[in-house]
Amino acid sequence: MLLVHPVHEVLRQLPLLIGSVVLGYSTGNPMWSVGALVLMVGYGVARWFTTTYRLDADQLQRREGVLQRNVLSLPRNRIRSLSTDARLLHRLLGLTVVRVGTGHEAEGDTEFELDAIRSDELAALRAVLLADAPSTASDEVPVADRVLARWQPTWLRYSPLSFTGLAMIAAAVGIVYQTGAVAAFEDSQLARTGLDAAERFGVLASVALGAVVVVVMSVVLSVARSLVTFGNLVLTRRDDGTGAGVLHLEHGLLRVREHTFDVRRLRGGTLREPLLVRKFGGARLDAVMTGVGGAGEASLLLPPCPRATAEAVLTSLTGPDVVTGELRRHGATAARRRWTRALVFPAALALGLAGLSFVVAVPTWAWVSCGAIVVVAALLAADRTRALGHRVDGGWLVARAGSLDRRRDCIAAAGIIGWTVRQTLFQRRAGVATLVAATAAGVKGYRVLDVPAELAWSVAAAASPWVADNEWARVP
């Protein structure tokens, strides 16, 4: 434990360290770099001496801070999830970082994080922290562990379909530019030979070659990232026989991350199918849970994986027919709105081109690309129309929408704590409305897009009986 802080401190301050080394060289005085290193290691050690945590009957408390004292305490009955994160160094030393999740969105210093807990103490700590019910219950009833999903190497085939690789390349290029290496490179010998070669091959060929290189690199990078982050993923459900239980997610090859979710806080799940992943029969699964942020990695249950796996897991968490059941369509008006929205921009473009063609000669490629845009927009509209649908059944609200990022939100009706019916001017004229179900979980508001206006309140009433009692909520 004493080792981790100084080493991470040094790694985090690496740019500063390099700076001090450069400074040391340029001034001819190596004491600069030694001094910086000593300061950092000293700070890391001091952090270890000043950080303590304690757990008493109803509070979890952490004190820390070298120069500025910080005490963070949270009531134990507010603890909703527990996640651990072990980087390579932590794992070598048998340590983990424990992150305690409560309802509110905390970032940075206010996040409750216990760094470098011994891994063998972890199971005990998790049992203590997540048991707001009397912890004796788990001793009597045999704990049933059920594996819901296990990572397969075939899941890797979905990872090149995301843009993570491209994003990583862009970030790397950005960093290189920042350091000014490009400026130095531009008038180097290597760049000149490269340019000469490019001229020999012709511009088109070299651009194509560059594109191929970028694509291959992005594929390799995203596959590698996916392998390292999600390799060894295991999702298990642990029931203690009383209906309560936890979902346990563990993943990562080098940096092992574990999340433990309390099933009583689960309010549903979102099946997400980005266009490309969907075309290859894949889907990813997010949990909708109170106290866990809806976006990003925090709520992730399954990374892109075969659709059947994701559906099976979500079905076991929700109920039969919720995930795969037929949805109620939103009708012709909603479809017409999808088409209008998709085609307004291409139509405006085409009109603009037509207007322009009276003044100047419009090249053929402009017309061709305009036509291509129209076709793409039409396909998009058709796909979005096909996606629209909702279903209220057996205590679950299901809403599906979107094409590029299609999502099917399955929300427990008991977790819905408010309804909004929103109509823009155009929606009022078309007689449709957007219904927003407010929950305390996930992304907070789940939208049912373009429901026929006369149906909107009956959908809400079917999901939450208290809406039906309100006379205001009946008027369309």
């Binding site: 977790g415 408010g418 309804w419 909004t420 823009t424 407010a438 309100n470 205001w472 909520a473």
Partner: protein
Amino acid sequence: MWAVGAAIPWTVLAAAQVVWLSLDARLPVLHVAAAIATAFGVVLFVFVVPFWRYRVHRWEIGAQAVYTRTGWLTQERRIAPISRVQTVDTQRGPLDRLFGLANVTVTTASSAGAVRIIALDADVADRIAAQLTDIASIGELDAT
């Protein structure tokens, strides 16, 4: 209240135009266009939109739920069950105080579910805030 609230920024805009005219009197066409746009904005936002908003605006606190209807171009109806109310805030801005009004915001555990009732008479606002707080304090569990 809405009319006065809208009038203030438009007055500032009109004043800014006068200043611009006095500093730089070239391009009269541009000035005329800007003046017409401002006049149109004033008519729309000070004389039309407030009445439109007033006609749409409704609220009710029933035995089970809080209900509001707001907006003009985009209209929104929002309903939240009283049993899930978490906090009740009352705010009064300078304009609200001038007219003796108050806004009541009823929040639930969801950031997408807060119900905001604007421009209530101050004593009505105080009364419903007290009433809702009473109900919320006897609510069960943690209302998520």
